[in-house]
């Protein structure tokens, strides 16, 4: 009844794992992420694509036991998690784990692996799943992690811009008081220094603030 066009069949060919092999049963995914916001993003995208996110864990959440209990196929884990080494051992330590776990990168393409590492995500899969089945899950994770990374750096930039604006305002205030000049003049002085010294306005501001502190 089952057409045996696969060359190598793992272990015992039951209905269940044959179905998994040919993709008839949806993959069960565990997410391990120190960052709850990012985990929500990844979970949302995976669920939208029909994957079954059976657990979302933080660190120290007894990962091994949860993996066995949830019967997971794939673990997407953020590289900030110390639990990666636990997953590394699941192929090696040889205890009575029912399903050995290997890291995706053994079969993945080098660019995918590099992209994953660069955005800080790693993936582990049970040993008898074909890499092609995992790739879409990993791609979703990479995309969401990359998006999160760029959102975070935009936020950091905005925060630092705001912080810099505050510095500049403060320095302007100091200049206005000391030199008895108006706002435009103060700003003009700062801008000139920035241009002459080839430094940023925010750096001029810092210098003024530091100097004022010393001079009292």
């Amino acid at each position: 009844m089952y057409c045996l066009w696969f060359r190598a069949l793992p272990l015992i060919l039951t209905d269940w794992n044959f179905s998994k092999l040919v993709g008839l049963v949806t993959l069960r995914v565990i997410l391990v992420d120190e960052n709850a916001d990012r985990a929500k993003m990844v979970q949302g995208s995976l669920a939208a694509q029909g994957y079954d996110v059976v657990a979302v864990l933080g660190s120290g959440a007894d990962l091994s036991a949860r993996l066995v209990a949830c019967n997971a196929d794939v673990v997407i884990i953020d590289m900030d998690s110390p639990d990666r080494d636990i997953l590394e051992s699941m192929r090696q330590v040889g205890n009575e784990q029912p399903r050995p776990i290997v890291m995706f990168s053994q079969d993945g393409d080098p660019q995918t692996i590099k992209s994953a590492v660069e955005v800080g995500v790693s993936a582990y899969v049970v040993d008898n799943l074909r890499p092609e089945r995992i790739k879409p899950v990993v791609d979703v994770a990479i995309a969401r992690f990359a998006q999160f990374q760029s959102l975070r750096s935009e936020l950091d930039k905005a925060k630092s811009t705001l912080a810099e604006r505050k510095l500049i305002e403060r320095a302007k205030g100091i200049l206005m008081k000391r030199r008895h000049c108006d706002e435009d003049e103060a700003f003009g002085l700062m801008r000139k220094m920035a241009m002459d010294q080839k430094i940023r306005l925010a750096d001029v501001a810092s210098r003024i603030i530091d100097a004022a502190e010393l001079l009292g």
Partner: protein, 293 residues
């Protein structure tokens, strides 16, 4: 010569030479500008080296073997021309540990001295138990929770357990001092940057000697105690520093062969052709000698 480097480390006392190298200017003396990257796992260290995100890293000696021969999850040819530390390995048992009842004992990484020391100790005492990996920072809380009955880990974690009254350290007097942590780089990186590599080794040699001097330990402990580094109390770190030898710096092919035999002994790998040659290409004593001239 490449002078800007990113070097990975894991938060243990035996990363001291790297941290001190940066903080006390030993790297700068050799013309190197080093950014240290604190990694939460050994797997990260391996993968970031493999992808070229890190130039060099604090590594477990058997991990260098694992990656090069592809015994674990990722295969990438690595090598080491410098040993960062020997010693500092200890086994701690929970105060209420019952060793006759299939205890669960933890270690740091499947390819580590800690794993092999633990297994050998269990075998010597006839302890039949389960061996698991737990990150060092979670070991003490796992012991407290009773999910493990003991662990084998590096400094300062045995001290942390003892200090908190949760654990008792096992005497491991006869333990030979083997190459434990090394400076790991990819073979490609080593071939591409021999001058930089040499400068790095020279800096670490000086840093290692400085770190090894007990008179400097209080200062080193203060540096390592910072959140960016170990983020632990200075006294515990200081006690941990005393357990480690930072000046046995030549790579040891002999220890490399021992690790290989342990990987075979515990079923991690099968027989390897040309063991001596492979180990010699991975733990390069000649390269070390040429660098420190």
């Amino acid at each position: 010569m490449k002078t800007k480097l990113k070097i990975g480390f894991v938060g243990l006392c035996d990363s001291a030479a790297l941290i001190v190298g940066k903080e006390r200017g030993f790297f700068a003396e050799q013309g190197l500008s080093v950014e240290l990257s604190k990694e939460p796992s050994w797997a990260n260290i391996r993968d970031k080296l493999a992808c070229g995100i890190l130039d060099a890293a604090h590594m477990l000696a058997p991990m260098v073997l694992e990656a090069t021969i592809g015994a674990g999850n990722v295969q990438v040819p690595l090598m080491s021309a410098f040993t960062l530390s020997t010693g500092g390995i200890g086994i701690t048992l929970g105060r209420d540990a019952v060793l006759t009842d299939k205890p669960v004992l933890a270690m740091v990484y499947p390819f580590s001295a800690h794993h092999y020391v633990l297994r050998s100790w269990m075998e010597a005492l006839g302890i039949a138990g389960e061996v698991v990996v737990i990150p060092p920072a979670q070991m003490v809380s796992s012991l407290a929770a009773g999910s493990i009955q003991g662990f084998c880990v590096g400094a300062p974690w045995n001290g942390v357990a003892e200090n908190s009254g949760l654990g008792v350290r096992v005497a491991l007097d006869q333990l030979p001092q083997r190459m434990d942590k090394v400076l790991g780089v990819t073979q490609d990186w080593s071939n591409a940057h021999p001058e930089t590599h040499g400068a790095l080794v020279k800096a670490l040699l000086t840093a290692g000697h400085w770190v090894n001097d007990p008179d400097n330990h209080p200062e080193i402990a203060e540096i390592l105690a910072q959140p960016a580094y170990l983020n632990l109390p200075p006294q515990i770190i200081q006690n941990g520093l005393a357990e480690i030898n930072f000046v046995a710096n030549a790579p040891s092919a002999q220890d490399g062969l021992w690790y290989l035999s342990q990987m075979q002994r515990w079923g991690q790998i099968g027989p390897i052709d040309q063991e001596q040659q492979i180990v010699g290409q991975i733990f390069c004593t000649d390269t070390y000698q040429s660098f420190i001239k």
